[in-house]
Symmetry: D2
């Protein structure tokens, strides 16, 4: 189709031209004496994005799914009991990963659309007097429902319960877009991937381990190889990787980190907050319901919109794609057909979202959901002007 | 600024990624035995875009401005008297070029916003019994006012006047976007550049000569070198150029022609008509005036919008650029401050124009022109749905 | 440094501009209704490169190291006894992977520089009357020594021993460059990565399973998640992936497969044979020794050259890099300092290797190994002319 | 053909990836308030490359051929008498341009392969007591013969003759590669293009005018438009161009200037000298003759090699192209079939030239010119080691 494709899934996000250019580059010898400069620079400059000075980041040729595995196999042991919260498809898959790998997962199931309640987790941990629970597994931002969990509050609850469980946090759709404070929140393993806030194609996985988590890699009981952090530590210290790294992605990461630093991380976060609010105001103007129930937990990277009873969100998505050259996120798992999602993360601005909102309106019309045309756009315009 | 820049000047237009990729290529020897395949293919496949089978196209490392010169110096002689119509900044500059080069230009001056009247030209030619006028110089689409002239009607008027003047037509902002029929309209020299309907960066000029015009290159009285078509004919016949061609642009043109052929030229034209109508409906919803007065002459590649009395269009443009990362076309020459322009040509689609219209609305607000937010977007949405 | 960097490590290989261009592309929704066309096309067209019709290929965001893991965890079970041959650093690491994951590896250790002897493996298998050995793990092409093993002969020996062990073959530096016949050789799992014969940046891992191996994925005893093939089967059947794929690499693979098909796979293999022979003739002219002892086993993708006693290959590599902007492969593991390696795989031609050989000559001089300047180049020139 | 194409024509030179990446960029509004930063930066940073502080550079969407025209039409008048030296195809074409445009050119014809003799020009000027000669037109580096003229000496001779003729110098294949001192040599118009030392695709022409030449643009008698410098002065002063500039090339120029500054212009010139000497030593080893007779005048950007009597250089070129994927420069004009040329300018290094020399050797063999294989390579290797 002529013209630019309108990509508004919540990942992969739109890759800025600067990053694509940076990746369009001849390969190099990853064992050369010049290579450590790249490695060390990346591992240094990625730390602020995770909100850490004490933590240690690692890079893998893998996607976020692989990073779930890396987090688990390097800090836990088969048969370990862990506590997890399921509140959408990605927290579900995180749990699924843990179970597939042999953890015993105690699941707190929430309505999809709700945020976790730190108090509930705190109570459960307080009740675990023997510290049978070895870790807490949560998502920071549930991409499927557009809900952002309160990790700071969770940490307070864990501390109040004086429970030593590790805190493993999926930040795939938050880190790089939303404020993430690994040190302040004492997140033991923070997990993310390249194709969202980092504005790159998928294919680079990133984890950052707290000092406490890093100690566990020597004692973790999982047989493992690809995601084993022990050789990574040794090689990274020298500026290398234990096996061939995904070099094009490293070049891309270099550029993405430079872009984030140029904008300023606080500005990046504020921009996402501003952009997300515009989308939410559009949804309010449409008189549609957000999947995320609690206003405090509404995500600044993705908005899941509930279609009216009797309507099929898949039709919105399908018309958007076929008629309007726009990709919307679908309802995942039990939300299939009930929601469509607009991603507003990474390399995004107000004008792009006016297009997204405007196209969502026409696609909804096509699907028999006649929100007043222009109503969401107008609401977003007002907000973007106010907040400019 | 983060996110994609919103480029809506009427040239350079947005270069599609395919074309940028095609231009991102190692150089080659333009004298190699393999080179003619590229040359011949381009010169063959560009013909349909000019609407010609009989005509002969030429390619130059130059912009459209250079093609005005190429058209004149290859078909006319210093001191020749020509007839031209001034109805905006670009027809003005075409005339200026002719005068600078030494032609005697008889100018029909119109209000900027009006289209040429074929009857007036026909009458003037009919009155020129001695055929003192050697050529008629007009723009097909006046980029400064958003007015498309009726070249078919002009040809009929010229034929009715039985006048042998050459017809030189600037199609810089029309060819490749609007239907152009060099053969049917008996256009002697059709002129264009790469950065509009051809969806490329500026830097490649193109002219196509009718057989009658082509004969003139031997007798044209201008001393000339760079734009001389005589060596071009000789070298092009062999698949080469008389001097180093702008190779990256030739690679880009190859891709652009392939894209046009894939979409189908009729579909390209229909798409521009549909997209342009959406912008016009937005302007109507804003209750603003188009610079182009006659509804029949409103351009499908660019719309010039008149701001209310007492308002300054430059402020709209400046706010759009600085606050909203959007480039709008300015009012040129005597229209400075009075109009802003939205380009909707080349690689463009409905979603892009919803962004353009939505951003224009907020920029107008910033400039003290409080059109109802979302009103233009809604009008465009309705039309794009109707016409989908 | 000005001018093009001379990259002659045996991976990453030189990525052709066409592939880089293909990867320089806006992202897309990997869950769209248009996506299966890409997936199905890749999984279909990669089969001939593996030499398989019956096999089933899979694609991962990972490097070749991850594919070792994928091969093992999907077809074997913890504690399984396997037979492996160690004849260089990469076969060593393959064994290391297997041990880390919990296999009991019976290792046949060879001199580094020797090829495996199918008869020895056949004898060992014949002696394994109870079929305690569940798999044979070998490398097709040992990248560290420049030795190509005879997989066809190995298969014959295994068949003669009537042993049901699975045959797992690392083809990282062979598949895409050397003839590989998964079906004919009854290779149960063929393993490769993107950054060698496939001419791409690292980051895409590929395995192909025989029907027999594919059955094992249901019974394999490893807890696993990221590299689990079961969800891949389900999603790939529909044209999707169970989690976000490395999209840029998929675009690159599409182009690489097209390029291979255009050249013709037999031609690709013949080209590598011709190019490799030129390098070997250069080494002979230098009167230096190849690491690969048996002439029959000398690799057509990489040549490891033994420096004279008392010389340090690291100096050759270091001078090549710092003075001549050339990357040579180093001696890995126990070969460190003893060999340097020239990669001649992927997007390579005679002229590139004349540069490689010529630069290796000057770098050797710099390192105190005064081979006659031009001697290796001349030998290669003669061969390339003869074989042109 | 697989592998990298070996481009060794003396223009277009190899465009470094950095420049290609810089050109691969979305277009922008060339009338925006941010645009002058680009314009002013380019016009400032290009000055050192011309060796000027006093001069004023201009940029055109055109090739070097257009810059001949720009130089002439802005500083001279039709019918003006000028003195020129013809010593190869490009000086011939410069003369041809002048004649086509209506100058009366007094030509000093040299053997092709000879350099101009400043004394001869000095004498001719001294004899021109009435100053009938308005300008001297010479090439700095004759690309067709590989001869570099002594512009410094020419200036001395002109000064000694106390003749006010303007000095117009074609530096197309020198500026950016060889030391060029516009101010010191009092060059009135220095002419160049983008596709040689500037390491870009063709399509951007550059001229720099001395203050004295700049005054002439007001009085020059040529009717002109596209190449008229008067509007350029006015618009450039504001940071703009009088018509749409070749934006992709401006982006490329920005990067090329940055690369030159990073390397250091003196280092750029020294590198060209070193690289050129290596090629000449190869030719000496081949016992072939250089087209450039005087050792002092041999060009560091291009070497023209005379094939033995009875041999046809076109066959060398043709075999190089078809069998070895290498582009060599052909013999132009009267040198057709007698010489082939190797370009060693722009983004070039020793390893690239070892490939060029090695491939030229095999192509000569193919064409029946059996120079000892490897002999030229060895001579170049020795020199590059010595001079490293």
């Amino acid at each position: 189709m002529p013209g630019r494709h309108h990509l508004f899934v919540p990942g992969p996000s739109n890759v800025p031209d600067r990053v694509l250019r940076a990746m369009h580059r001849a390969q190099e010898d990853h064992r050369s004496s010049a290579f450590p400069e790249l490695t060390h620079g990346l591992l240094r400059d990625i730390k602020p994005v995770f909100g850490t000075q004490e933590g240690r980041p690692f890079l893998f040729a893998a996607t976020g799914t692989g990073m779930w595995e890396a987090a688990i196999v390097n800090t836990l042991s088969p048969g370990d009991r862990v506590l997890a919260v399921r509140l959408g498809q990605f927290s579900h898959l995180f749990i699924d990963t843990a179970e597939k790998l042999g953890l015993k997962v105690e699941v707190i199931d929430l309505e999809w659309g709700d945020a976790l309640d730190p108090a509930v987790i705190g109570e459960r941990l307080a009740a675990d007097a023997n510290h049978a629970l070895k870790a807490v597994l949560v998502v920071h931002n549930e991409t499927a429902t557009g809900v952002t969990n309160d990790i700071e509050g969770l940490r307070e609850a864990m501390d109040a319960a004086r429970h030593p469980a590790l805190l493993l946090v999926d930040g795939v759709s938050s880190i790089g877009s939303l404020a993430f404070r690994q040190d302040a929140w004492k997140v033991d393993v923070a997990i993310t991937g390249s194709q969202k806030g980092f504005m790159m194609p998928a294919g680079l996985g990133m984890v950052s381990l707290s000092p406490r988590a890093l100690e566990r890699i020597e004692t973790a009981g999982f047989a493992r190889h690809y995601f084993d952090l022990r050789p990574q530590v040794l090689h990274n210290d020298q500026g290398y990787f234990p096996y061939t790294p995904a070099l094009a992605h490293l070049f891309g990461l270099r550029e993405a980190l430079d872009m984030m630093a140029e904008e300023g991380l606080d500005n990046v976060h504020a921009r996402h907050a501003r952009l997300g609010e515009g989308v939410r105001r559009a949804v309010a103007a449409w008189e549609l319901r957000l999947c995320a129930r609690d206003p405090e937990s509404r995500s600044n990277t993705v908005t899941a919109i509930v279609v009216p009873d009797g309507k099929d969100a898949r039709q919105v998505i399908d018309h958007a794609f076929r008629r309007w050259d726009m990709a919307l996120g679908s309802g995942l798992g039990r939300l299939n057909g009930k929601v469509f999602r607009i991603g507003h993360l990474g390399d995004c601005n107000a004008g792009m979202l006016l297009a997204a909102i405007g196209l969502a309106e026409v696609a909804m019309h096509d699907a028999g959901i006649p929100v007043p045309l222009g109503s969401g756009v107008a609401a977003a315009q007002r907000w973007y002007r106010e907040s400019a």
